[in-house]
Point group: C2
Chain length 400, copies 2
């Protein structure tokens, strides 16, 4: 899979960006990105839950305690993780150098890193590239920036949404990196979102939490959580108008737009699974609670047995049921309905005899797997891939 | 990997066994096994924790409430899981038919099934094969039985240990099926152990729990728990002597022998990973408790990032540290030592610069990964494989 980004679509009022090669990656590949706002931005972030946190994560958490920031500098090729106290100092060195070069206040620049772990960050390469990075800054630079944050990604990931927040037109633009389940590597997931909405700090944080849960936290990327996982959103207020406050329709509208963008970016990450042949949407309803539905959807999405069956276009619903059985939720096996691309393969936990129809329906590239637990009103949606490599071929053909 | 079993080694006083083809599997492959004791046996079992349980598991839990049993009948090719009430009835039909054919008391025969899910058990094929199965019963039949319980296994798994329990010589003989992590399929793990020790019911159950925790529950087979996972141990007392009771040295000796056998069988399951090039022992010490050590060892053993690095013979200790960071245990990142095949690659959470030595040491087929958390006295051992397929090649070479 390969996708070209549209430079003209990727614009947001008052933001400029660039992506250049600093020599961290071999072969003059872009590995250094910068996103900058003309004016100070309200900022919110969500970081890895791993207890082992990379230096830029440790430092960004401190930087976010400031009220406003101006931008983000990101390198790929080196994660600056498991690098101890000198790694933390290296990360400060990068942000301070960038602040000086761009004439920003101290603490105005956030950082992010992705790549190999346990290797000292080549600070000199980054600082030497700063003048070129600065020269390259442009309103059209987001496609280059998206390319510069890639590691094992097969294609750069960026998107934008436009909509109304109150009476005002706003834009949200996002970049992401990360590759689907089937490519276990550094597995870092990074996403950077900029918007011209005028919004308070607490409101932005709340909207981001909600959007991330429904998007980046609802995909099966990998069973690992990286030391570097980071989602940042910067709002510069240049769309004008009154500040969006909590409780009104404006915050709902903004949260909806932010969620829409995050889902688009998260889906691009799922789609970037080398060898994946299917894009799978798992919908669970009828659980005791949304939380229980989420556990079931996650268990299905992560099950190697289920993913192997999707690859084999095998409507092996017993594997889906077994995955739910492991999820630690309330389950009445004799109530469960399972529907694959519209074909009900199990009703009340028993085979319906429609496996042939379902196998035919599963030949589509996109599979929607619906589960109704009939215990309550909880629901959830997850996105995952099949497990589509030659090595699982034998297993997926086991039944035929 | 392929292994031949020694028929002469696989014997236990008072037990006979057989394995034949009943036609459930294609191509006249053995798919029906029987283990029988001359006299009634004390029995203990450990079953899947999946809430979705196959019919033989549901029924065996009932059968185990009887005080004594005579044997186990096992079919491969059909799991009799997700088959509803008729599946439960089918399973009873098999055990009752076997009890009649062998002239046993009602409830004297345990069952187990492994294979595809959601398909009705072909009871007729099994009952038609019973006379041949009975004719084939012999003291040397355990190798055939081991073959008959295979599904995706690359080789049959059986072993025996001999030792002293008190003054008496006892034998423990075990069969197992299940294939390592890298082959996601039905993923059922079955193990059947017979012994001539004379032991009480509660003591046998306690010994089995302890042995299973240190063996089958300490391997990374798969992230799934099958609907059919079962470990059964039958003790017929024919070694003679007084009944082994709790609290003494005899029960300790027996538990040690049972654990030794279970570890041997569990290691065979780990070794049976198609494409796996490494057998990895993960040793964690210095945790706050054994339970926390176990969580860390499990997280390391299951991490796709760690397993990919093992395949690439890449001493990427940052991935090991990151896996521990996800384990939800007390962790002081700046205390952690990591040793790979004797080479200390990280001391106090910092690289020691010995990656080249470690890469060389990791060329061995067996890798011992030791982690010292230096927080307490808890320790644990886990066994896992690398993730050794072409599809991960790109990622494991990412650093080179």
């Amino acid at each position: 899979m390969s996708k070209k980004l549209s430079k003209t679509k990727l614009k947001c009022k008052g933001f400029i960006a660039a992506g250049v090669s600093s020599g961290i990656k071999k072969g003059a590949k872009k590995d250094l990105a910068l996103i900058l706002s003309e004016v100070p931005c309200t900022v919110a972030g969500v970081f890895t839950r791993n207890k082992v946190r990379a230096a830029p994560v440790v430092n960004d958490i401190k930087r976010l305690k400031r009220s406003k920031v101006r931008g983000i500098i990101v390198n790929s090729g080196n994660a600056n993780a498991c690098t101890g106290a000198s790694g933390v100092a290296d990360d400060w060195a990068v942000s301070i150098a960038a602040e000086k070069a761009l004439d920003l206040d101290k603490g105005g620049m956030l950082t992010a890193s992705t790549g190999v772990i346990g290797v000292p960050l080549p600070v000199d390469k980054i600082t030497l590239a700063l003048p070129r990075l600065q020269t390259a800054l442009t309103k059209d630079g987001f496609a280059d920036a998206a390319e510069a944050i890639m590691t094992t990604d097969a294609f750069p990931k960026a998107n934008s949404v436009k909509g109304k927040v109150g009476a005002l037109d706003v834009t949200l633009l996002g970049l992401a990196k990360g590759a689907g389940m089937i490519r276990p590597d550094m597995a870092t997931m990074l996403a950077f979102i900029v918007t011209d909405v005028n919004i308070g700090r607490a409101e932005l944080k709340g909207a981001l939490r909600s959007a991330v849960d429904a998007s980046f936290n609802s995909i099966c990327v990998d069973n690992d959580t990286s030391t570097n996982d980071t989602v940042l959103v910067l709002a510069n207020g240049m769309a004008g108008g009154m500040e969006v406050t909590s409780g009104g329709t404006a915050i709902k509208a903004f949260t909806r737009l932010l969620t829409e963008l995050c889902v688009k970016l998260a889906r691009m990450i799922v789609e970037d699974g080398e060898g994946a042949t299917k894009f799978v949407e798992v919908r669970v309803k009828g659980a005791l609670s949304d939380k229980e539905a989420r556990k079931a959807a996650k268990a299905i999405s992560e099950s190697m047995l289920v993913k192997t069956a999707f690859f084999g276009e095998d409507p092996n619903w017993g594997r889906i049921l077994a995955a739910i059985g492991m999820a630690g939720i309330h389950l009445d096996q004799e109530k469960v309905d399972i529907i694959l691309n519209g074909i009900c393969v199990a009703r009340n936990g028993i085979d319906t005899g429609k496996e042939k129809d379902a196998a035919w329906a599963m030949q589509e590239r996109e599979i929607v797997a619906e589960v109704n637990l009939k215990c309550g009103k909880g629901s959830a949606v997850f996105w995952t891939t099949d497990l589509g490599h030659d090595y699982v071929k034998i297993n997926s053909e086991y039944r035929t």
